[in-house]
């Protein structure tokens, strides 16, 4: 009997691990004595230079880099907090709630400005605005919309061009998509009108930035709403086909965050990594960096950044989430 239980357990944990990762890569496996497992929503391409710089400085540390979607990070982490040393995600709200719930380790030695960290546990290291990414071909000879209102008008003006060719996150699947949508909804009613227009045009819903930009590249869609500009920017081969618009009516800027699991077996190495991460990202003169740096929130000219504060938990409330999701579905899924 015991044997069966053990078997069942090992099978279960194997099942969790065996679950597909979007990407998985190991750095510095050869001569390391300790190993850090990082669960992240950031594409390996974008993160690799940073990890390589880290292992160059810390040859004793190997990094097992596991990529999955933000909502999935939250799920997996809650299931097995001791399976990962560090969690990195663009879904600030989910990261915040994990920290509030006590999953994050307090790192006394990491020095970071108060607005960019929470409880000395959750550390922000990028500033990334949500963008409207447009395939230039679809707007040939026409003005590129600069605001949500202009986008609404452009979509309404030529429904035959855009039907089935507008895309955005499926907030039911994507943690980051949900964060962007809720923050937009909070800022203005324009968001809901845009959703209705996009719903009327038979919107394409995506789980992840990558796929959305893939479709944008090959012309499947002409407009992607609330994509991370940094991802589109990284596509060097197709970069010129895009126009990346940061809407000037109300901007939404997210900060990518990282924390060390309280259950981590390697807290010292993990702390070293976080310290390296925030320093690397705050240093603006590094040419090899692909991720946007952390913009000083107090510099004045920058876009409204979502604050690391308890209010982030508001839209994660089950009742609130149900209400928001059903409103979103009503607006977007009209058939």
């Amino acid at each position: 009997m015991r044997y069966f239980i053990a078997l069942a357990l090992s099978f279960l944990s194997h099942a969790v691990w065996a679950q597909d990762w979007e990407d998985r890569q190991t750095f510095n496996e050869a001569d390391a004595t300790t190993s850090l497992r990082i669960i992240s929503s950031t594409d390996t391409d974008l993160f690799a230079p940073l990890i390589e710089a880290f292992v160059a400085e810390n040859p004793d540390v190997a990094i097992d880099y596991l990529v999955t979607e933000t909502a999935d990070i939250d799920r997996r982490f809650r299931n097995m907090p001791d399976a990962f040393d560090i969690a990195i995600s663009s879904a600030m709200d989910l990261q915040f709630k994990l920290t509030n719930d006590g999953y994050a380790l307090e790192l006394q030695n990491v020095s970071h400005p108060a607005w960019a960290q929470w409880r000395q546990s959750l550390f922000a290291f990028t500033s990334e605005p949500a963008a409207i990414v447009i395939n230039r071909a679809a707007f040939d000879g026409l003005p590129i919309p600069r605001t949500r209102q202009e986008l609404i008008e452009a979509l309404r003006a030529r429904p035959e061009v855009f039907r089935g060719r507008v895309g955005t996150y499926d907030v039911r699947q994507s943690g980051l998509g949900y964060l962007f949508a809720t923050q937009d909804a909070r800022a203005s009613e324009t968001f809901w009108r845009l959703m209705e227009v996009m719903g009327g045009l038979d919107v394409q819903l995506y789980c992840c930035s990558g796929e959305m930009i893939d479709d944008l590249t090959d012309g499947t869609i002409a407009v992607a709403y609330n994509v991370l500009g940094s991802y589109a920017e990284a596509r060097t081969e197709s970069r010129n086909a895009f126009e990346i618009v940061l809407p000037s009516d109300f901007p939404t800027t997210m900060m990518r965050t990282a924390f060390v699991s309280k259950a981590s077996a390697e807290p010292a190495a993990a702390e070293r990594f976080i310290q390296f991460l925030v320093t690397y990202q705050s240093n603006p003169i590094d040419g090899t960096r692909l991720l946007p740096s952390l913009q000083d929130r107090d510099s004045g000219t920058e876009r409204a950044t979502i604050a690391l504060e308890p209010a982030l938990m508001t839209f994660l409330d089950a009742l609130k989430r149900n209400k928001f999701t059903s409103e979103w579905e009503n607006a977007l899924i009209q058939n």
């Binding site: 504060e309 308890p310 938990m313 508001t314 089950a318 009742l319």
Partner: protein, 440 residues
């Protein structure tokens, strides 16, 4: 002094705890107010639709709970005691439905939290539903504030203590110093000095000094009164004694029988001694009075003593005694002649009384190094073991038991000498006889 500093320390401690306690209350009240506002805004957002409770959490509800110490927030929403959303462990912490918000301090996930619970009744189409919300916040910011306030309160307490200690040290040394001065000046005073104390003292000590002065004044007055009484009494005794003596003398003339005459003579002698004693009492009282208000006249001591010797010569002759006067021919001095005569008179009296018949009494008056009058006789001298005490009032020697006397003679001589800033010295001469030196 120690009590003062101890008291200051206790006060400082009380101050510290009072400030801290007050700060705890204020800070806790601040947190409670925000929790209350937050939970109220959450309850306000609750609606019921088709039997379903909807709670459209306002963004501000949690936003207002942001603190500088990044305090964690937990909440639970219940419908009729059934968990709807939030943190389920909070809902089971205590399941009650109070009318007004209830605050509580407890632990969640190992962290101390302040919890508010509040409820609201929603009235739907055909039902009543109670929505209850638990909202908890950790107390990191609160304890940071309290630490800071405690530090400030401690500083305040220490400052207060130091100030109080320094002040009490200063105040006691000021008063104790003055008290010390007063004590020395009281101690230094001679036995006769009953003048009021006039040195300036701190305001706080004025009542003490003035009551001391009034005590001294009353003492002085009652002393004077008793001296007056003695003088009066002596006077009243002397006059009838003189009358009795003259009757006795008259009777002696008329009595023939030898044994009766002898009795009369003894009687007259006793009367003489009694009036002499009364006279001495009177003299003593007078000297005590005059010594306080000494009148100094320019006199010649040799002249004064020789006058006296001449006046006493007839009495001396009755005992076959001769009085020899020696020393400087002129000893000028400034003093009270009445008192000085009285003193020397008593010394000569003693020499006549205790010296043997048919001998001489030698009086030496000298001006250097100090004005001195020495009276010596050839008698048996002072009883050696009593020599120290004979000058005290009413003190008589062992050799004086068969002579009548008051024990005041040497006392008067001494008082006079002291009133003039000097003293008397008793000694027995090696060759026999008593010597009294009165130095001025």
């Amino acid at each position: 002094m120690l009590t003062l500093i101890g008291g200051a320390a206790v006060l400082a401690l009380i101050l510290f705890f009072a400030v801290r306690n007050y700060a705890v209350q204020v800070a806790q009240q601040g947190q409670d107010t925000i929790l209350d506002a937050s939970v109220t805004s959450m309850l306000d957002a609750a609606t019921i639709q088709d039997g379903t409770v909807e709670l459209d959490l306002p963004y501000a509800a949690f936003s207002m709970l942001a603190t500088s110490a990044d305090d964690r927030v937990f909440y639970a929403i219940l419908r009729d005691g059934k968990f709807l959303s939030g943190y389920e462990e909070l809902a089971t912490a205590g399941n009650f439905l109070p009318d007004s918000p209830v605050f509580q301090t407890s632990q969640i996930r190992g962290a101390p939290v302040r919890t508010i619970s509040a409820s609201r009744t929603l009235i739907g189409a055909n039902e009543r539903v109670d929505v209850q919300i638990f909202l908890a916040q950790t107390q990191d910011a609160l304890s940071e504030t309290l630490d800071q306030i405690s530090r400030n309160a401690a500083l305040l307490g220490v400052g207060f203590f130091t100030l109080a200690a320094v002040l009490s040290f200063w105040a006691t040394s000021a008063t104790i110093g003055q008290l010390g001065k007063l004590t020395t000046s009281v101690t230094r005073r001679g036995p006769q000095d009953l003048r009021p104390f006039t040195k300036p003292v701190p305001r706080e000590m004025v009542p003490l000094v003035s009551s001391l002065n009034s005590l001294v004044g009353r003492l002085d007055q009652s002393l004077t009164q008793s001296e007056d009484f003695i003088a009066e009494a002596a006077h009243r005794v002397r006059t009838p004694l003189a009358t009795v003596r003259s009757y006795a003398e008259a009777t002696l003339q008329r009595v023939d029988k030898e044994e009766n005459r002898e009795a009369m003579r003894s009687m007259i002698k006793a009367i003489d001694e009694s009036s002499r004693a009364a006279g001495q009492l009177l003299d003593h009282a007078m000297i005590t009075f005059r010594a306080d208000h000494l009148e100094r006249d320019a006199i010649d001591l040799t002249e004064l003593v020789s006058d006296l010797a001449q006046r006493l010569a007839p009495i001396a002759e009755m005992k076959d005694l001769s009085i020899a006067l020696r020393g400087d021919p002129h000893v000028p001095y400034s003093g009270d002649p009445v008192l000085l005569q009285n003193a020397v008179r008593n010394l000569i009296d003693n020499a006549m009384k205790y010296g043997p018949a048919e001998s001489s009494i030698e009086i030496t008056v000298s001006g250097k190094p100090k004005p001195q009058i020495m009276v010596c006789d050839h008698g048996p001298g002072f009883p050696e073991n009593e020599i120290e005490t004979l000058t005290t009032r009413f003190q008589r020697g062992a050799n004086a038991t068969d002579s009548i006397g008051s024990g005041l003679g040497l006392t008067i001589a001494q008082d006079v000498a002291m009133a003039h800033g000097g003293g008397i010295h008793l000694e027995n001469r090696l060759e026999g006889g008593a010597c009294v030196t009165l130095s001025l």
